[in-house]
Amino acid sequence: MSTFELRVGGRQVDPMEASELAWLDRRRGIARLADGTIALVEGSGSEWTVTLRGRRIAVQVLTARERILAVAESGEAAHAGPLDITATLPGLIVAVEVSPGDEVQAGTPLVTIEAMKMQNEVRAPRAGTVGGIAVEAGQTVATGALLLRLESPAAR
């Protein structure tokens, strides 16, 4: 009997208990879903990814204990404190567009990373003041590497 809480994109979903899912290759996570689609299910523990018609859908499957922990974490993240901007893909830093102390709006380009021969602009997810910058042009970064810290917007 499942007591899991299911979340897709942060939203709780509650599918019918009796799913008509048929595992075709359990080891690789290949299943035929209730609507006849062949899907790929990958993951472990509470973090899963279901590839449905080419789209990867992140699903959290949480036990009661994991649910309590998740609630506590999301409460902390809600504070509008400093925000660390990290690289979402590995690559070469080709330009740092801002300097410490710059006031930026949501969408302001911060850093340009070249990956797979494309220039990718990392933009500010919200308004704020640029704090410390951890990278410089010419440097190679890995996924998750700290690029810079965005402080709360200056009080006016």
Binding site: L21, W23, R28, L40, V41, E42, S46, I57, V59, P90
Partner: protein
Amino acid sequence: MSVAPPFHRLVVANRGEIAVRVMRACRELGIESVALYSDADRDALHVRAADRAERIGPAAAGESYLSIPAVVEAALRSGADALHPGYGFLSENGAFARAVIDAGLAFVGPAPATLAALGDKLAARRLVAEAGVPVVPGLMVPLTEDEMDLEAVGFPALLKAAAGGGGRGMRRVDSPREVGPALATARREAMAAFGDGTVYAERLVSPARHVEVQLLGDRHGTLATLGERDCSVQRRHQKLVEESPSPAVTPEIRAALMESARRVAGTVEFENAATVEFLLDADGNHYFLEMNTRLQVEHGVTELVTGLDLVSWQIRIAAGEAMGDEVLAAAPRGHAIEARVYAEDPYDGFRPVAGAVSTWEMPAGPGVRVDAGVEAGTRLRPEYDPLLAKLLVHAADRPAAVSRLRRALDETLIGGVQTDLGFHRWLVDETGFGAGSYDTSLVADRWGRGPDLTPEEMDLAAAAARDARLAAAPAERSASLGASPVESAWATQARRDGIDR
């Protein structure tokens, strides 16, 4: 072929799916193939597809696949008598072609002088306009920081790299104040991609379709125009889907396109394979964009409708063979579509993604062709292009081809990384695409960041994940589901069958 192979040993100066594609042609022609690999590609599919392999340097493309000395030295070491550059990397570099020829190898592609003349897109614009072919209105000289006035060109305008290709160094500008920042970015991107920061500007033709003509020319002065491909489904000015024939091209437009393509080829002493790209506006007028003096990613679309092996012909032409009726009288048959499979997230602006491919199940069956450069377990490298594979279908007509592509996409399963398969699956059901009425704005206007997940999709995904966790319970096995690439059940069975025999 019953005759002697055109070459003894051929170096493929590329990686990924196109390297594998060229090696297949070599095998069929009885030519030994040589793979070149960087340290990142030691175990890559293209190394295994070749008869021999030579290391060319570290992972960074500039020190390996883009290094003329490294590639030429490796080619000499291998004892090859020919070199195929594939597409991208050094394929359109005249100095490279010259170095290959000076090293005593045949270069499978147009002559160095042709590459030089048409490699500079700005010079090519001038050359082609003089030959009486319409070009997109715009600058005939470089755009510089001192001279950024685009009033004469008009807005919106498109900044383009003179050494460009593949959408790199290209930026749209909608107003005068955007020109400065866009020029800086375009320059930087062009410099990084091509080592040349020259940028020019053209008026943005919109709505427009991107239609191109495939050419083959031999050393004996024979030129074949092998129909058109419609490449209007693009993101960031890079193609995602190509088809032939184009739903927008009437016999009259086709005749005009072929005539213009012939004129473009006539501006140089043309030999081997090339593609002339045009924009087609809503009134059926066409404008020359550029000539790509190499094999295109989407060459397979033309192969399917003409029945010709373009790579094989490239190699035969490079050996001096003359094209006969097999090429000149090739009548196009049916309809072909290609969907490019990229390691990109179409739900996040087609951002390239990193990671490793876990499950890799490709479609098969009637009228389906897959050209792939990766397999289960391949770790994707940020240094290289994110193209994983090309799914091609061929059928009697366009509706049947779209239906076949839908079926092929439903058979495809890729795990480990987000790909653009979700976009392709959406596209085959999109009304405009189904009707053949779309232009280069399709991705931006109709896809955007893709449709929101429906409640049904969320339920399906959530139920599947729950079932998967339940299956992993109660022990919460450390070995997680689908995390490690494993061979398919068919492969396992085939091996057992082999042992039993």
